[in-house]
């Protein structure tokens, strides 16, 4: 169920061999020297059903092996038998915390194949909702990383402040977690009356919430002691493993697909800053996401001021039949770089879709990263990488 890469040369024992050993030792045997510990798949710190088999010497990790696949739902097989609107419904559930952002690259790919372009108002609203999803998932991250290092209160603040954003998304799309709002050629519906003013109020609250998190968590000396210097990802190693998004930017790599990749949505018209941090440790990843939340608030304000009027849907036939062709789109999802490779044979549904999810590659660095750290640091590192199981396993 895990990766099929050849064993890394740094290990003195094949990770697959000691994973089998761990399975056999699922009972109560204790090695006198090293101890094999199963973190998960049911564990509060692993964000879902990630199983991490670690080999411990006292409290130090000698080797770690993530075992994924406990939440595999077979997306790439499911979409082979569904039409484009049905697939839009399903792919919401890959990264469920920022679900609007999952739909966008897929719809973008279908529109590219059809040669249809969504009208400008639809593009702006798509960008606004993507950034709102980014804000909602990052606010939750700011809270729950505090929880993983032991502070109970920030998690509740994270959920409380996220409610406002989620209510906004519900007012537009009808769904809090699964908007299912994109359609090939535009959006399903337009904004309800008064939504723009409501959004401005909510953004102010989120801005204040970021200050709360900065004082309560990021400014706390105990938090510094737990996260500074822990889990340092050097930029070359991170890039080699495919780590992307805020994790890579926290190692100092100035790369953001919204600014540097192929143009999508209206990011080229926006004026925004890409935040990086030179350290590459867990604190840097927290700090970068904190700044990115604030930056997203500013971006949404710009977008609201510049929102054009007009139609919300381009002229597309009732039954969407995408002509033959293949296309690859990649976007900056909140979790990292997400991509869809759509191969169409002219039917009402795609022939094959390959989903490149950000968390899959983010988690692949764990065997390298977790060598020599303490068990509490394992939890801190897992929290700071911020992966979602639905994104890893699809």
């Amino acid at each position: 169920m895990s990766t099929t890469n050849p064993p890394l040369p740094e290990f003195d024992i094949d990770p697959r061999a000691f994973r089998t050993l761990a399975d056999a030792q699922m009972g109560v045997e204790l090695d006198t020297g090293d101890m094999i510990l199963n973190l998960g798949p049911q564990h509060p710190a692993t964000h879902g059903t990630l199983r991490l088999v670690v080999r411990l010497d006292g409290e130090r990790v000698i080797a770690a092996d993530p075992v994924i696949g406990y939440m595999h739902r077979g997306y790439e097989k499911l979409v082979e038998f569904r039409t484009y609107p049905q697939i839009t419904t399903l792919i919401n559930r890959i990264d469920w915390l920022s679900s609007f952002a999952n739909e966008v690259p897929f719809i973008d790919a279908a529109e590219k194949l059809m040669g249809v372009e969504a009208p400008p108002r639809a593009q702006y609203i798509r960008t606004i909702l993507t950034e709102l999803s980014r804000i909602s998932t990052f606010v939750l991250f700011l809270g729950e990383m505090g929880l993983q290092v032991g502070a109970l209160t920030p998690a509740f603040y994270g959920f409380r402040d996220r409610e406002h954003v989620v209510n906004l998304i519900e007012a537009v799309t009808g769904g809090r977690f699964h908007p299912n709002f994109n359609r090939v050629g535009g959006l399903k519906d337009d904004l309800p009356w008064g939504w723009v003013n409501e959004t401005r109020t909510v953004l102010k609250k989120i801005y204040d919430a970021c200050d709360t998190f900065e004082d309560l968590v990021a400014g706390n000396e105990i938090f510094h002691a737990r996260t500074k210097g822990v889990g340092i990802i050097p930029p070359e190693i991170g890039a080699a493993y495919g780590v992307s998004g805020s994790n890579l930017r926290a190692s100092g790599v100035d790369w953001d697909l919204r600014r540097d990749g192929a143009p999508y949505l209206v990011y080229r018209d926006l004026d925004f800053k890409v935040w990086t941090h030179p350290d590459g440790d867990s604190f840097a990843r927290y700090w970068v996401r904190l700044q990115e939340t604030r930056e997203s608030c500013r971006m949404v304000l710009q977008l609201l001021d510049a929102l054009p009027s007009g139609p919300i849907m381009a002229k597309v036939p009732r039954i969407i039949k995408v002509p033959e062709g293949e296309v690859w789109t990649e976007v900056e999802n909140p979790l990292g770089q997400m991509g869809y490779y759509v191969f169409s044979k002219g039917a009402t549904g795609p022939f094959r879709v390959k989903i490149r999810s950000a968390s899959f590659s983010n988690v692949s660095i764990l065997p390298w990263l977790l060598r020599g750290v303490f068990v509490p640091d394992v939890i801190t590192i897992l929290a700071s990488l911020y992966f979602i199981l639905g994104d890893i396993d699809r």
């Binding site: 209510n167 519900e170 510094h224």
Partner: protein
Amino acid sequence: MKKPKLPGVIGGLGITFKTMLKPAVTVQYPHEREDPPTRARGVIALKEENCTVCMLCARSCPDWCIYIEGHKEKRPPRREGGRDRTVSVLDRFDIDYALCMYCGICVEVCPFDALFWSPEFEYAESNIAKLLHDKRKLGEWMETVPEPEPLEIGAEVKGKKK
């Protein structure tokens, strides 16, 4: 030169203390209720007189949770000297809410506006079989369907000349 700040540990204590003094944000359901927005996807309602048993909704459901059965009936012509008409009559229209993903494709796809969204969400049952709503129950949900709300400034209003 920044003015000296309190150590972060003290600032954190201040934040929790201040939050303790403010009122809590909990809405005590079921004593108090917070109404969902108008567009919230709570339950699907069926307007039976509009349905022509075209089966588009059942076909486009990603979960195949809509069960439709109908039959054709002959009706007398509308005017003198006309042909006999054939009308599709709905026998059975069930939505299985245990399977429904609340995606809304059926509502969107219906060409005759027979399906509507309603923000009603309090229909949980202790027996899964009762989550299969038949057409009588779906017709009852029609009373809870709200009026469509006005759209934001700048939206294109269909049918009106600019």
